[in-house]
């Protein structure tokens, strides 16, 4: 492949944001070179490609960088027409998918991170919020799927599937570390069966770190956040991936 057509992904092994892009590239069958970034010691390339946020993932295509996982997914969908679409064709369905993707990102993910990085009363409050948001998502799924069962396989994963997977693919590890069961089939039957189906997709399975490693990741993250240190208990993507980059990928 000519240098200009090459696809590179700058990432970090434990980052769910990077995982989203990897899943999309694999679903579309796009060959790429993966570059592991040390986020404690960021490369010149990363700082050049993402000067605004200095974060991963960054996709490089034709020598040009694209940043922000959702932006990357839309770029992939528009650029590689072969393989399954990541967004529906119908504008109204696209809007619904974008709406729920934004919900998962802004309202669920942020609050789950809060549960991971807090304790005591603050954690109890955050847990309550997550359950409220999950209930809203469960309700929303009824409208989104409109009574049809949402069949997942490697052929029809879209951006919402990918985003949900990047958050709750590790739900068993989250359960083990937090002692809270978010993906509860009794409380959230539609959501639970959807998450279970997602974790069974071959591409997702291949990209998921083993359970034990994920447990370590969440424990590490929690420990780091609860330590009274210079980082403080800031629930930001930066803290999350900064903490994790100190654990080895192998």
């Amino acid at each position: 492949m000519a240098e200009e057509n090459k696809v590179k992904l700058h990432g970090m092994w434990a980052s769910p944001y990077v995982k989203r892009v990897e899943i999309a590239l694999k679903i579309k069958g796009i060959p790429y070179e993966y570059v592991e970034e040390d986020l404690v010691n960021k490369s010149q390339l990363l700082l050049q490609y993402n000067p605004v946020h200095k974060k991963v993932p960054v996709l490089i295509h034709d020598g040009k960088p694209i940043c922000e996982s959702l932006v990357i997914l839309e770029y992939i969908d528009e650029t590689w027409k072969n393989g399954p679409p990541l967004l529906p064709q119908d504008p109204y369905k696209r809007a619904k998918v974008r709406f729920w993707t934004s919900f998962v990102e802004k309202e669920l993910l942020e609050n789950v991170l809060l549960v991971v990085t807090s304790e005591g009363e603050a954690q109890e409050k955050a847990i309550k919020v997550v359950f409220e948001k999950l209930k809203l998502l469960e309700e929303g799924l009824k409208d989104l799927f409109q009574g049809e069962t949402h069949h997942i396989d490697g052929e029809n994963m879209g951006i919402l599937d990918i985003f949900l997977c990047s958050l709750f693919g590790a739900h068993k590890a989250q359960e083990e570390v937090l002692g809270v069961k978010f993906i509860d089939p009794e409380k959230f039957p539609l959501l639970s069966s959807w998450v279970t189906a997602l974790t069974e997709v071959a591409v997702v399975k291949a990209l998921q770190p083993p359970h034990e490693k994920l447990v370590v990741v969440y424990q590490f993250l929690r420990q780091k956040a609860l330590q009274p240190s210079a980082d403080g208990v800031e629930v930001k993507e930066g803290v999350y991936v900064r903490s994790l980059s100190r654990s080895s990928p192998s």
Binding site: I66, Y75, E78, Y92, R94, A95, F99
Partner: protein
């Protein structure tokens, strides 16, 4: 063409994002002013999750969240595109819309401060955000969209008009010609674009409205904060 309705409120920058997009594309629509202190059954029906504006209703089907609405409008009505043709440039525009969604809210945190450490922190975050726009977003372009306004300019509209109101009320000046030359020029150029100029809330009325809202918020917070 199916009927298009927009439920919004006159002081909201998010409402205006949708108005600007509809007007730029020449899409006729019915505007419905919502009273957020007494939410209508229509709003609760169309946006049961957040109960917020703006909501676009197209052929009876609701679309919520202004950033989602902008993309929807672009998908349905391709004339006068808000996004560039080139895939990489589209990604850059979307990156800045994403930035607007996540980073510009610091100006509203500043809006809620009266002084001290809280205000210093909010001011610092706001300045960093504006620095990113100046150095990486706008650089030496006239608009984020290049020679014409695009989706990113629309997303940053609150920086052009509402930020000045926040600056006045809080008593801090963030955008000055010598500190942010390109951004400063952009705020003027953006508001000179005819569709934008004709569709902005009156500055004086807006100032009064937000002053009252701020006073109410500060009073409810209580002293010593």
């Amino acid at each position: 063409m199916e009927v298009v309705k927009l439920i919004g409120t006159w002081p909201s920058p998010f409402s205006y994002r949708v108005i600007w997009a509809l007007k730029l594309k020449g899409i006729p629509y019915e505007y419905i002013e919502e009273d957020l202190s007494n939410k209508s059954p229509m709003l609760l029906q169309y946006n049961p999750l957040h109960k917020k504006i703006p909501v676009l209703v197209h052929g009876g089907k609701p679309i919520c969240e202004s950033a989602v609405i902008l993309q929807y409008i672009e998908d349905v009505w391709p004339q006068n595109p808000l996004l560039p043709n080139d895939p990489h440039e589209r990604a850059v525009a979307r990156f800045w819309v994403h930035f607007a969604e996540n980073k510009v809210r610091c100006i509203w945190r500043l809006f809620r401060t009266t002084g001290g450490e809280e205000q210093e922190k909010a001011k610092k975050e706001s300045m960093e955000m504006l620095r990113a726009l100046e150095e990486h977003g706008l650089r030496d372009k006239k608009f984020f969209g290049g020679d014409k306004i695009g989706i990113a300019d629309i997303a940053f509209g609150q920086v052009a008009h509402w930020l000045e109101m926040i600056e006045d009320l809080v008593g801090v000046k963030l955008i000055e010609a010598h500190t942010f030359p390109h951004l400063h020029a952009w705020t003027k150029n953006f508001k000179q674009v005819p569709i934008i100029k004709e569709n902005l809330p009156d500055f004086g009325e807006m100032l009064m409205y937000f002053k009252k809202a701020r006073d109410n918020f500060l009073a409810s917070r209580g002293p010593g904060m």
